[in-house]
């Protein structure tokens, strides 16, 4: 399978690889996927308490090139967004931006799940009401 140049670019130079201190109250962590399925994404956000804006985002991903590119792109998009705007990121935007083929759409779904899970974790830690569907994400 040939990858798009954008996937290759993110794969070679992944943005925001790393780990944030999950014990911090303003850090939300989302861990989605399973080793048995061949994809695990961990996405973290650090939120500015005063403004509600995501000031930093980091990821680590076990998976194929598309999974790594999807999570790398997600961290880029998250930085500078408000938490509420971040929730609006749709997996199909990732598919479009990276030109993912149909067989790799699940990678973008996983990235969207990771974003939602990280935000849900952040909200839970900070006593912000979480909508029912987010809580299970």
């Amino acid at each position: 399978m040939a990858y798009s140049n954008k996937v290759l670019e993110h794969f070679k130079n992944p943005r925001n690889v790393g780990t944030l201190d999950k014990s911090q109250k303003n850090v939300g962590t989302g861990l989605v996927g399973a080793p048995e399925c061949g994809d695990v994404m961990r996405l973290q956000i650090e939120v500015d308490d005063a403004t509600g804006v995501i000031k930093d985002a980091k990821f680590k991903t076990f998976g194929c090139g598309s999974a790594i590119a999807s999570s790398s792109l997600a961290t880029e998009w998250l930085k500078g967004k408000s938490v509420e705007d971040a929730l609006k990121i749709d997996n199909m935007e990732i598919v479009e931006e990276l030109a993912l083929p149909p067989v790799k759409i699940h990678c973008s779904v996983l990235a969207e799940d990771a974003i939602k899970a990280a935000i849900a974790d952040y909200k839970k830690k900070n006593g912000i009401e979480v909508e029912a569907e987010m809580a299970t994400a």
């Binding site: 690889v17 861990l31 080793p35 399925c37 061949g38 994809d39 961990r42 779904v109």
Partner: protein
């Protein structure tokens, strides 16, 4: 980037040896005749070339030239053997025994035969990939007509105990067929000596051209017959109609001749290089070699790089080094290698596996470069991997509640 790309995927296909190409060339234009044209020299020349190739192939596997049926490749040979025996021996029974680690050409053919009334037993294999002989023998019953077990596995290189299987088949009077695609031309494969009655193989796995292969069909003690699956002009003694692929067959013959002369020295050289490759990777942490390491092909190793996903890993070097992964992501199905799963590997280790298959044209420099480049790729991917980080922190990964999707 290196000027020359490194090819470590010889189990997928081998390059065609230039000596083979040279032997084939005259049969495209100069001697272009149809081997079935009996009435003029063009046909006679072609027939002579086919007869000569048949002898070369027969010599390699210590068979009678009349026991060689030329086909389009191993998939066709597998189909002809299984379907041909099932039809021909329908009155004797309908039970076929095979294993879960066979090539798809065997498994899918067996599934089709099930729809046509065959009963098929798919044996499990042991954790090292070998067939359990007691289990095999216990599976044989009065309706059993055929045991189909591959000589060497394409993914792991594991070699089955062919002699012992042959003895079991002889004891119970059932036919023994082997898909020997990965073994012929690389190790000694003499079917008669081991009690194998039918054997499939292909030219393009032994430095010959693609699109040509053969089925060995025993002619005496016992005389085995298969029902043709391709009807037409009655070529190949009625077992496989269709104009013979003369240049391809000449190529298969030449490849067999070269293999006979060179396979021993190739095997010694390649097993040394394979071990060097393997030992290079074993310097890293959490590396697992899959399958039996004693009984396996000299040029193959299958390795799991734990906590790294195979396809992602391959992307770090696939512009320069070609090989295959047992990861789901290389296939459309998203299922990881069924062969590795049958060996009892967890899905996670199957997703983390790479298959290295060296060949006649692999150099020591290739191996050294591959170890260095791939080790670097493993490090890169582990730096990116959340589960590697968790493993390093001492998290018990089996206790994590994963959100399976």
């Amino acid at each position: 980037m290196r000027a020359r790309k490194i090819y470590l995927d010889n189990n997928a296909t081998t390059p065609c040896d230039p000596r083979v190409v040279e032997a084939m060339v005259p049969y495209f234009f100069e001697h272009h005749g149809n081997a079935a044209s009996r009435s003029h020299p063009f046909g006679w020349e072609a027939e002579e070339a086919v007869d000569y190739a048949r002898e070369q192939v027969a010599k390699l596997i210590d068979a009678d030239p009349k026991e060689i049926v030329f086909t389009s490749g191993a998939t066709e040979s597998d189909n002809l053997a299984l379907k041909g025996v099932f039809e021909m021996y329908a009155r004797k029974g309908n039970h076929i025994i095979t294993t879960k680690t066979e090539h798809k050409a065997v498994l899918d053919t067996c599934h089709k035969l099930e729809k046509q009334g065959a009963e098929v037993t798919f044996l499990e294999v042991k954790n090292d990939g070998l067939v359990d002989l007691a289990e095999l023998e216990a599976a044989i019953k009065p309706s059993t007509i055929l045991v189909s077990i591959m000589w060497a596995n394409n993914e792991t290189g594991v070699i089955q105990p062919m002699k012992e299987i042959g003895e079991i088949c002889a004891k119970h009077g059932v036919l023994f067929f082997s898909d020997a695609t990965q073994a012929v031309g690389k190790i000694k494969t003499h079917p008669r000596e081991l009690g194998i009655h039918l054997m499939a193989f292909s030219a393009h796995k032994m430095y010959g051209p693609k699109g040509v292969g053969a089925l060995y069909v025993s002619r005496k003690n016992p005389r085995v017959k298969v029902t043709a699956q391709m009807d037409g002009g009655g070529h190949e003694r009625g077992m496989r109609s269709g104009t013979l692929n003369v240049p391809g067959i000449v190529g298969l013959g030449k490849a067999a001749e070269i293999a006979m002369k060179e396979m021993d020295q190739d095997a010694v050289r390649l097993s040394r290089l394979r071990d060097k490759l393997e030992n290079g990777f074993l310097q890293l942490e959490e590396i697992y070699v899959n399958g039996n390491r004693e009984n396996r092909m000299p040029h193959v190793t299958n390795i799991s790089f734990k906590h790294v996903e195979g396809e992602g890993l391959m992307m770090t070097f696939n512009q320069e080094i070609a090989l295959s992964s047992g990861s789901a992501c290389t296939s459309a199905s998203l299922e990881p290698s069924y062969v590795l799963i049958a060996l009892g590997l967890g899905d996670d280790l199957a997703h983390s596996s790479l298959r290295f298959s060296l060949g006649r044209f692999t150099t020591e420099e290739d191996v050294d470069y591959a170890v260095q480049a791939i080790s670097k790729g493993v490090q890169h991917m582990r730096d990116l991997s959340p589960i590697w980080e968790m493993y390093k922190e001492g998290v018990d990964l089996t206790q994590v509640e994963w959100s399976e999707h």
